[in-house]
Symmetry: C2
DNA sequence: GTCTATAAATGGATAGAC
DNA sequence: GTCTATCCATTTATAGAC
Protein backbone atom coordinates (compact mmCIF):
# COMPACT_ATOMS: atom_id res chain seq x y z
CA UNK A 1 0.00 0.00 0.00
CA UNK A 2 1.37 3.41 -0.98
CA UNK A 3 2.16 6.06 1.56
CA UNK A 4 -0.80 8.23 0.63
CA UNK A 5 -3.13 5.27 0.78
CA UNK A 6 -1.96 4.62 4.31
CA UNK A 7 -2.50 8.24 5.27
CA UNK A 8 -6.03 8.02 3.87
CA UNK A 9 -6.75 4.81 5.75
CA UNK A 10 -5.41 6.29 8.94
CA UNK A 11 -7.48 9.44 8.63
CA UNK A 12 -10.57 7.46 7.66
CA UNK A 13 -10.12 5.27 10.72
CA UNK A 14 -10.03 8.07 13.22
CA UNK A 15 -12.81 10.08 11.61
CA UNK A 16 -15.19 7.16 11.12
CA UNK A 17 -14.58 6.02 14.70
CA UNK A 18 -15.01 9.53 16.05
CA UNK A 19 -18.07 10.68 14.11
CA UNK A 20 -19.64 7.60 12.58
CA UNK A 21 -20.24 6.74 8.95
CA UNK A 22 -22.86 9.26 7.90
CA UNK A 23 -21.38 12.24 9.74
CA UNK A 24 -17.93 11.74 8.22
CA UNK A 25 -17.45 13.33 4.81
CA UNK A 26 -14.98 12.39 2.14
CA UNK A 27 -13.94 16.03 2.22
CA UNK A 28 -12.95 15.68 5.84
CA UNK A 29 -11.04 12.47 5.13
CA UNK A 30 -9.18 14.10 2.26
CA UNK A 31 -8.36 17.14 4.35
CA UNK A 32 -7.29 15.13 7.38
CA UNK A 33 -5.04 12.90 5.31
CA UNK A 34 -3.48 15.85 3.51
CA UNK A 35 -4.53 14.85 0.01
CA UNK A 36 -7.29 15.96 -2.31
CA UNK A 37 -10.58 14.27 -2.76
CA UNK A 38 -9.89 12.81 -6.22
CA UNK A 39 -6.82 11.13 -4.75
CA UNK A 40 -9.03 9.46 -2.20
CA UNK A 41 -11.30 8.25 -4.97
CA UNK A 42 -8.33 7.01 -7.00
CA UNK A 43 -7.45 4.65 -4.17
CA UNK A 44 -10.89 3.69 -2.98
CA UNK A 45 -13.95 3.08 -5.06
CA UNK A 46 -16.49 4.77 -2.83
CA UNK A 47 -17.21 5.96 0.67
CA UNK A 48 -18.96 2.69 1.42
CA UNK A 49 -16.01 0.65 0.20
CA UNK A 50 -13.54 2.72 2.15
CA UNK A 51 -15.58 2.40 5.32
CA UNK A 52 -16.13 -1.34 5.04
CA UNK A 53 -12.49 -1.96 4.18
CA UNK A 54 -11.08 0.15 6.97
CA UNK A 55 -13.42 -1.21 9.64
CA UNK A 56 -12.99 -4.85 8.66
CA UNK A 57 -9.23 -4.44 8.76
CA UNK A 58 -9.46 -2.88 12.21
CA UNK A 59 -11.56 -5.79 13.44
CA UNK A 60 -8.94 -8.22 12.24
CA UNK A 61 -6.11 -6.16 13.75
CA UNK A 62 -7.65 -5.64 17.17
CA UNK A 63 -9.16 -9.10 16.75
CA UNK A 64 -9.65 -10.85 19.92
CA UNK A 65 -6.80 -13.29 20.53
CA UNK A 66 -8.05 -13.86 24.03
CA UNK A 67 -5.43 -16.43 24.89
CA UNK A 68 -2.44 -14.71 23.33
CA UNK A 69 0.31 -14.73 25.88
CA UNK A 70 -1.80 -16.43 28.53
CA UNK A 71 -0.36 -19.53 30.17
CA UNK A 72 -3.26 -21.98 30.05
CA UNK A 73 -1.85 -24.53 32.45
CA UNK A 74 -2.02 -22.43 35.61
CA UNK A 75 -4.97 -22.47 38.03
CA UNK A 76 -8.27 -21.70 36.28
CA UNK A 77 -8.81 -18.59 38.40
CA UNK A 78 -5.54 -17.15 37.16
CA UNK A 79 -6.05 -18.15 33.55
CA UNK A 80 -9.59 -16.82 33.38
CA UNK A 81 -8.66 -13.58 35.08
CA UNK A 82 -5.92 -13.03 32.52
CA UNK A 83 -8.37 -13.67 29.70
CA UNK A 84 -10.96 -11.36 31.27
CA UNK A 85 -8.40 -8.62 31.80
CA UNK A 86 -7.25 -8.82 28.21
CA UNK A 87 -10.82 -8.62 26.97
CA UNK A 88 -11.71 -5.65 29.14
CA UNK A 89 -8.59 -3.78 28.12
CA UNK A 90 -9.45 -4.28 24.47
CA UNK A 91 -13.15 -3.52 24.60
CA UNK A 92 -13.71 -1.25 27.56
CA UNK A 93 -10.53 0.49 28.63
CA UNK A 94 -9.11 1.16 25.17
CA UNK A 95 -10.75 4.18 23.62
CA UNK A 96 -10.15 2.75 20.18
CA UNK A 97 -11.70 -0.56 21.14
CA UNK A 98 -14.80 1.11 22.53
CA UNK A 99 -15.13 3.28 19.45
CA UNK A 100 -14.77 0.29 17.15
CA UNK A 101 -17.38 -1.67 19.05
CA UNK A 102 -19.72 1.27 19.00
CA UNK A 103 -19.22 1.83 15.29
CA UNK A 104 -19.77 -1.77 14.22
CA UNK A 105 -22.91 -1.97 16.36
CA UNK A 106 -24.19 1.23 14.75
CA UNK A 107 -23.47 0.25 11.20
CA UNK A 108 -24.12 -3.49 11.34
CA UNK A 109 -27.61 -3.12 9.83
CA UNK A 110 -26.27 -1.10 6.89
CA UNK A 111 -23.09 -3.17 6.54
CA UNK A 112 -24.04 -6.77 7.37
CA UNK A 113 -20.69 -8.04 6.17
CA UNK A 114 -18.94 -5.81 8.69
CA UNK A 115 -21.15 -7.15 11.44
CA UNK A 116 -20.22 -10.67 10.47
CA UNK A 117 -16.48 -9.93 10.38
CA UNK A 118 -16.62 -8.14 13.73
CA UNK A 119 -18.44 -11.07 15.29
CA UNK A 120 -16.20 -13.75 13.82
CA UNK A 121 -12.89 -12.09 14.57
CA UNK A 122 -13.95 -10.81 17.97
CA UNK A 123 -16.54 -12.17 20.38
CA UNK A 124 -17.17 -15.42 18.59
CA UNK A 125 -13.51 -16.30 18.36
CA UNK A 126 -12.95 -15.43 22.01
CA UNK A 127 -16.02 -17.34 23.08
CA UNK A 128 -14.86 -20.42 21.23
CA UNK A 129 -11.46 -20.36 22.86
CA UNK A 130 -12.95 -19.97 26.32
CA UNK A 131 -15.45 -22.72 25.54
CA UNK A 132 -12.63 -25.07 24.51
CA UNK A 133 -10.72 -24.21 27.65
CA UNK A 134 -13.76 -24.85 29.86
CA UNK A 135 -14.50 -28.11 28.05
CA UNK A 136 -10.94 -29.19 28.84
CA UNK A 137 -11.39 -28.37 32.53
CA UNK A 138 -14.69 -30.25 32.48
CA UNK A 139 -12.95 -33.29 31.02
CA UNK A 140 -10.50 -33.21 33.91
CA UNK A 141 -13.39 -33.05 36.36
CA UNK A 142 -12.34 -29.63 37.61
CA UNK A 143 -15.60 -27.90 36.71
CA UNK A 144 -19.15 -28.86 35.78
CA UNK A 145 -19.82 -27.34 32.38
CA UNK A 146 -22.34 -29.33 30.36
CA UNK A 147 -22.65 -26.57 27.73
CA UNK A 148 -19.24 -24.94 27.19
CA UNK A 149 -20.42 -22.40 24.61
CA UNK A 150 -23.19 -21.18 26.88
CA UNK A 151 -20.82 -21.05 29.83
CA UNK A 152 -18.34 -19.03 27.79
CA UNK A 153 -21.15 -16.66 26.84
CA UNK A 154 -22.03 -16.24 30.51
CA UNK A 155 -18.41 -15.62 31.33
CA UNK A 156 -18.05 -12.89 28.73
CA UNK A 157 -21.29 -11.34 29.88
CA UNK A 158 -20.26 -11.35 33.53
CA UNK A 159 -16.90 -9.86 32.75
CA UNK A 160 -18.19 -7.03 30.60
CA UNK A 161 -21.58 -6.60 32.27
CA UNK A 162 -20.61 -4.20 35.03
CA UNK A 163 -18.66 -1.93 32.64
CA UNK A 164 -19.73 -2.14 29.05
CA UNK A 165 -23.12 -0.45 28.92
CA UNK A 166 -22.37 2.51 31.23
CA UNK A 167 -19.10 3.13 29.43
CA UNK A 168 -20.73 2.93 25.99
CA UNK A 169 -23.48 5.27 27.14
CA UNK A 170 -20.85 7.67 28.44
CA UNK A 171 -22.18 7.76 31.99
CA UNK A 172 -19.17 6.18 33.63
CA UNK A 173 -15.48 6.53 32.82
CA UNK A 174 -13.62 3.33 31.98
CA UNK A 175 -12.29 1.61 35.10
CA UNK A 176 -8.75 2.14 36.29
CA UNK A 177 -6.41 -0.83 36.21
CA UNK A 178 -6.75 -1.16 39.97
CA UNK A 179 -10.53 -1.23 39.93
CA UNK A 180 -10.53 -3.53 36.93
CA UNK A 181 -8.21 -6.01 38.65
CA UNK A 182 -10.14 -5.99 41.89
CA UNK A 183 -13.50 -6.37 40.14
CA UNK A 184 -12.40 -9.13 37.78
CA UNK A 185 -10.95 -11.05 40.70
CA UNK A 186 -14.41 -11.18 42.26
CA UNK A 187 -16.18 -11.89 38.99
CA UNK A 188 -13.93 -14.82 38.12
CA UNK A 189 -14.37 -16.23 41.61
CA UNK A 190 -18.16 -16.01 41.32
CA UNK A 191 -18.11 -17.60 37.89
CA UNK A 192 -15.91 -20.49 38.98
CA UNK A 193 -18.08 -21.09 42.00
CA UNK A 194 -21.11 -21.12 39.72
CA UNK A 195 -19.63 -23.85 37.51
CA UNK A 196 -17.93 -25.79 40.30
CA UNK A 197 -18.48 -29.52 40.61
CA UNK B 1 -50.09 17.06 21.84
CA UNK B 2 -51.90 17.67 18.56
CA UNK B 3 -52.64 14.91 16.13
CA UNK B 4 -50.04 16.07 13.61
CA UNK B 5 -47.42 16.36 16.30
CA UNK B 6 -48.08 12.77 17.24
CA UNK B 7 -47.77 11.67 13.62
CA UNK B 8 -44.46 13.49 13.41
CA UNK B 9 -43.17 11.91 16.59
CA UNK B 10 -44.24 8.48 15.42
CA UNK B 11 -42.56 8.88 12.04
CA UNK B 12 -39.43 10.30 13.63
CA UNK B 13 -39.27 7.35 16.00
CA UNK B 14 -39.33 4.69 13.33
CA UNK B 15 -36.99 6.51 10.97
CA UNK B 16 -34.41 7.44 13.60
CA UNK B 17 -34.46 3.89 14.96
CA UNK B 18 -34.23 2.40 11.50
CA UNK B 19 -31.58 4.60 9.91
CA UNK B 20 -29.88 6.50 12.73
CA UNK B 21 -29.67 10.21 13.34
CA UNK B 22 -27.47 11.41 10.50
CA UNK B 23 -29.02 9.23 7.80
CA UNK B 24 -32.55 10.39 8.62
CA UNK B 25 -33.61 13.61 6.92
CA UNK B 26 -36.25 16.05 8.02
CA UNK B 27 -37.64 15.65 4.51
CA UNK B 28 -38.14 11.96 5.12
CA UNK B 29 -39.79 12.61 8.49
CA UNK B 30 -42.15 15.15 6.93
CA UNK B 31 -43.00 12.81 4.10
CA UNK B 32 -43.49 9.78 6.35
CA UNK B 33 -45.74 11.67 8.71
CA UNK B 34 -47.81 13.13 5.88
CA UNK B 35 -47.10 16.78 6.63
CA UNK B 36 -44.82 19.37 5.13
CA UNK B 37 -41.42 20.29 6.43
CA UNK B 38 -42.42 23.70 7.81
CA UNK B 39 -45.08 21.96 9.86
CA UNK B 40 -42.40 19.79 11.37
CA UNK B 41 -40.40 22.90 12.23
CA UNK B 42 -43.47 24.60 13.67
CA UNK B 43 -43.73 21.81 16.24
CA UNK B 44 -40.07 21.12 16.86
CA UNK B 45 -37.24 23.57 17.01
CA UNK B 46 -34.60 21.59 15.17
CA UNK B 47 -33.59 18.12 14.07
CA UNK B 48 -31.43 17.77 17.16
CA UNK B 49 -34.27 18.73 19.45
CA UNK B 50 -36.70 16.40 17.76
CA UNK B 51 -34.25 13.52 18.00
CA UNK B 52 -33.34 14.08 21.62
CA UNK B 53 -36.97 14.54 22.62
CA UNK B 54 -38.24 11.48 20.81
CA UNK B 55 -35.46 9.20 22.02
CA UNK B 56 -35.60 10.33 25.64
CA UNK B 57 -39.35 9.77 25.67
CA UNK B 58 -38.87 6.29 24.25
CA UNK B 59 -36.33 5.49 26.95
CA UNK B 60 -38.78 6.52 29.60
CA UNK B 61 -41.61 4.56 27.96
CA UNK B 62 -39.73 1.33 27.42
CA UNK B 63 -37.88 2.12 30.63
CA UNK B 64 -36.83 -0.83 32.50
CA UNK B 65 -39.30 -1.62 35.26
CA UNK B 66 -37.57 -4.89 35.88
CA UNK B 67 -39.80 -5.93 38.74
CA UNK B 68 -43.11 -4.81 37.30
CA UNK B 69 -45.53 -7.66 37.76
CA UNK B 70 -42.93 -9.94 39.31
CA UNK B 71 -43.81 -11.57 42.61
CA UNK B 72 -40.72 -10.97 44.73
CA UNK B 73 -41.52 -13.38 47.51
CA UNK B 74 -41.18 -16.61 45.59
CA UNK B 75 -37.98 -18.67 45.40
CA UNK B 76 -35.01 -16.60 44.15
CA UNK B 77 -34.58 -18.82 41.11
CA UNK B 78 -38.13 -18.04 40.01
CA UNK B 79 -37.94 -14.35 40.78
CA UNK B 80 -34.63 -13.86 39.02
CA UNK B 81 -35.71 -15.84 36.00
CA UNK B 82 -38.78 -13.65 35.67
CA UNK B 83 -36.63 -10.53 35.88
CA UNK B 84 -34.15 -11.94 33.38
CA UNK B 85 -36.90 -12.91 30.97
CA UNK B 86 -38.44 -9.48 31.15
CA UNK B 87 -35.11 -7.85 30.47
CA UNK B 88 -34.29 -10.06 27.50
CA UNK B 89 -37.70 -9.51 26.00
CA UNK B 90 -37.23 -5.77 26.22
CA UNK B 91 -33.65 -5.52 25.02
CA UNK B 92 -33.00 -8.54 22.85
CA UNK B 93 -36.22 -10.06 21.54
CA UNK B 94 -38.09 -6.83 20.88
CA UNK B 95 -36.99 -5.28 17.62
CA UNK B 96 -37.84 -1.85 18.95
CA UNK B 97 -35.83 -2.43 22.11
CA UNK B 98 -32.77 -3.55 20.15
CA UNK B 99 -33.06 -0.59 17.82
CA UNK B 100 -33.37 1.83 20.73
CA UNK B 101 -30.34 0.36 22.46
CA UNK B 102 -28.36 0.51 19.26
CA UNK B 103 -29.38 4.09 18.60
CA UNK B 104 -28.57 5.42 22.06
CA UNK B 105 -25.19 3.67 21.99
CA UNK B 106 -24.47 5.22 18.59
CA UNK B 107 -25.51 8.73 19.49
CA UNK B 108 -24.43 8.88 23.12
CA UNK B 109 -21.21 10.77 22.26
CA UNK B 110 -23.11 13.41 20.29
CA UNK B 111 -26.06 13.52 22.72
CA UNK B 112 -24.62 13.00 26.20
CA UNK B 113 -27.94 13.87 27.80
CA UNK B 114 -29.61 11.04 25.90
CA UNK B 115 -26.94 8.64 27.08
CA UNK B 116 -27.60 9.71 30.66
CA UNK B 117 -31.37 9.32 30.36
CA UNK B 118 -31.03 5.92 28.70
CA UNK B 119 -28.71 4.77 31.45
CA UNK B 120 -30.81 6.11 34.32
CA UNK B 121 -34.19 4.88 33.09
CA UNK B 122 -32.86 1.56 31.86
CA UNK B 123 -29.86 -0.45 32.99
CA UNK B 124 -29.10 1.58 36.08
CA UNK B 125 -32.64 1.43 37.36
CA UNK B 126 -32.83 -2.30 36.73
CA UNK B 127 -29.46 -2.88 38.33
CA UNK B 128 -30.48 -1.00 41.42
CA UNK B 129 -33.65 -3.01 41.84
CA UNK B 130 -31.80 -6.29 41.43
CA UNK B 131 -29.12 -5.06 43.82
CA UNK B 132 -31.76 -4.23 46.43
CA UNK B 133 -33.36 -7.61 45.97
CA UNK B 134 -30.03 -9.41 46.33
CA UNK B 135 -29.16 -7.34 49.40
CA UNK B 136 -32.44 -8.48 50.93
CA UNK B 137 -31.64 -12.12 50.24
CA UNK B 138 -28.20 -11.59 51.69
CA UNK B 139 -29.74 -10.16 54.84
CA UNK B 140 -31.81 -13.30 55.20
CA UNK B 141 -28.69 -15.41 54.81
CA UNK B 142 -29.95 -16.97 51.59
CA UNK B 143 -27.05 -15.81 49.47
CA UNK B 144 -23.54 -14.44 49.94
CA UNK B 145 -23.48 -11.07 48.21
CA UNK B 146 -21.00 -8.67 49.79
CA UNK B 147 -21.32 -6.19 46.89
CA UNK B 148 -24.93 -6.15 45.65
CA UNK B 149 -24.38 -3.61 42.88
CA UNK B 150 -21.49 -5.60 41.45
CA UNK B 151 -23.50 -8.81 41.73
CA UNK B 152 -26.41 -7.19 39.93
CA UNK B 153 -24.03 -6.07 37.20
CA UNK B 154 -22.75 -9.62 36.84
CA UNK B 155 -26.31 -10.89 36.72
CA UNK B 156 -27.28 -8.51 33.94
CA UNK B 157 -24.13 -9.38 32.05
CA UNK B 158 -24.69 -13.12 32.34
CA UNK B 159 -28.27 -12.82 31.25
CA UNK B 160 -27.59 -10.72 28.18
CA UNK B 161 -24.09 -12.00 27.43
CA UNK B 162 -24.99 -14.99 25.29
CA UNK B 163 -27.45 -12.97 23.19
CA UNK B 164 -26.79 -9.28 23.09
CA UNK B 165 -23.66 -8.87 21.00
CA UNK B 166 -24.46 -11.41 18.27
CA UNK B 167 -27.97 -10.03 17.97
CA UNK B 168 -26.75 -6.42 17.82
CA UNK B 169 -24.17 -7.39 15.21
CA UNK B 170 -26.89 -9.10 13.19
CA UNK B 171 -25.18 -12.48 13.10
CA UNK B 172 -27.76 -14.36 15.10
CA UNK B 173 -31.52 -14.00 15.16
CA UNK B 174 -33.09 -13.20 18.53
CA UNK B 175 -33.83 -16.33 20.53
CA UNK B 176 -37.24 -17.96 20.48
CA UNK B 177 -39.22 -17.97 23.70
CA UNK B 178 -38.41 -21.65 24.17
CA UNK B 179 -34.67 -21.17 23.77
CA UNK B 180 -34.79 -18.07 25.92
CA UNK B 181 -36.57 -19.87 28.72
CA UNK B 182 -34.28 -22.88 28.63
CA UNK B 183 -31.14 -20.74 28.53
CA UNK B 184 -32.20 -18.36 31.28
CA UNK B 185 -33.07 -21.32 33.50
CA UNK B 186 -29.45 -22.45 33.29
CA UNK B 187 -28.01 -18.97 33.64
CA UNK B 188 -30.01 -18.19 36.77
CA UNK B 189 -28.99 -21.52 38.27
CA UNK B 190 -25.31 -20.82 37.59
CA UNK B 191 -25.60 -17.32 39.02
CA UNK B 192 -27.31 -18.48 42.19
CA UNK B 193 -24.73 -21.20 42.67
CA UNK B 194 -22.03 -18.59 42.21
CA UNK B 195 -23.44 -16.41 44.99
CA UNK B 196 -24.57 -19.24 47.26
CA UNK B 197 -23.56 -19.25 50.91
C1' DG C 1 -1.06 10.12 -10.01
C1' DT C 2 -2.41 14.38 -8.26
C1' DC C 3 -4.54 18.62 -8.17
C1' DT C 4 -8.35 22.67 -9.07
C1' DA C 5 -12.80 23.27 -10.15
C1' DT C 6 -17.31 21.83 -10.63
C1' DA C 7 -21.32 19.03 -11.41
C1' DA C 8 -25.62 17.03 -9.47
C1' DA C 9 -28.11 16.03 -5.61
C1' DT C 10 -29.58 16.44 -0.94
C1' DG C 11 -29.31 18.37 3.55
C1' DG C 12 -31.45 21.73 7.34
C1' DA C 13 -34.04 25.60 7.81
C1' DT C 14 -37.20 29.65 6.41
C1' DA C 15 -40.21 33.36 3.77
C1' DG C 16 -44.48 34.37 2.45
C1' DA C 17 -49.13 32.98 0.61
C1' DC C 18 -53.36 31.12 2.31
C1' DG D 1 -51.40 26.43 11.52
C1' DT D 2 -50.26 24.65 7.16
C1' DC D 3 -48.54 24.59 2.64
C1' DT D 4 -45.51 25.80 -1.83
C1' DA D 5 -41.42 27.32 -3.04
C1' DT D 6 -36.87 28.45 -2.10
C1' DC D 7 -32.25 29.66 0.19
C1' DC D 8 -27.83 28.29 1.29
C1' DA D 9 -24.52 25.05 2.86
C1' DT D 10 -22.75 20.61 2.22
C1' DT D 11 -22.45 16.08 0.15
C1' DT D 12 -20.69 12.42 -3.12
C1' DA D 13 -18.42 11.93 -7.11
C1' DT D 14 -16.06 13.36 -11.48
C1' DA D 15 -13.99 16.14 -15.59
C1' DG D 16 -10.01 18.06 -17.19
C1' DA D 17 -5.47 20.47 -16.51
C1' DC D 18 -0.77 19.38 -15.15
Amino acid sequence: MSEKAEQIVSAAQSLFLEDGYAATSMDAIAHESGVSKPTVYSHFQSKEGLFAGVMCRMCEDIGFDAFDGVETDGPPAVVLKAVATDMCRRLVVSEQGRALLRTVICEAPAFPELGRVAWETGPRYGREMVADYLAGLDGQGEVDVPDPVLAAGMFFGMVTGPFLIPVLLGTEPPPSEAVLSETLEKIVATFLKGVSV
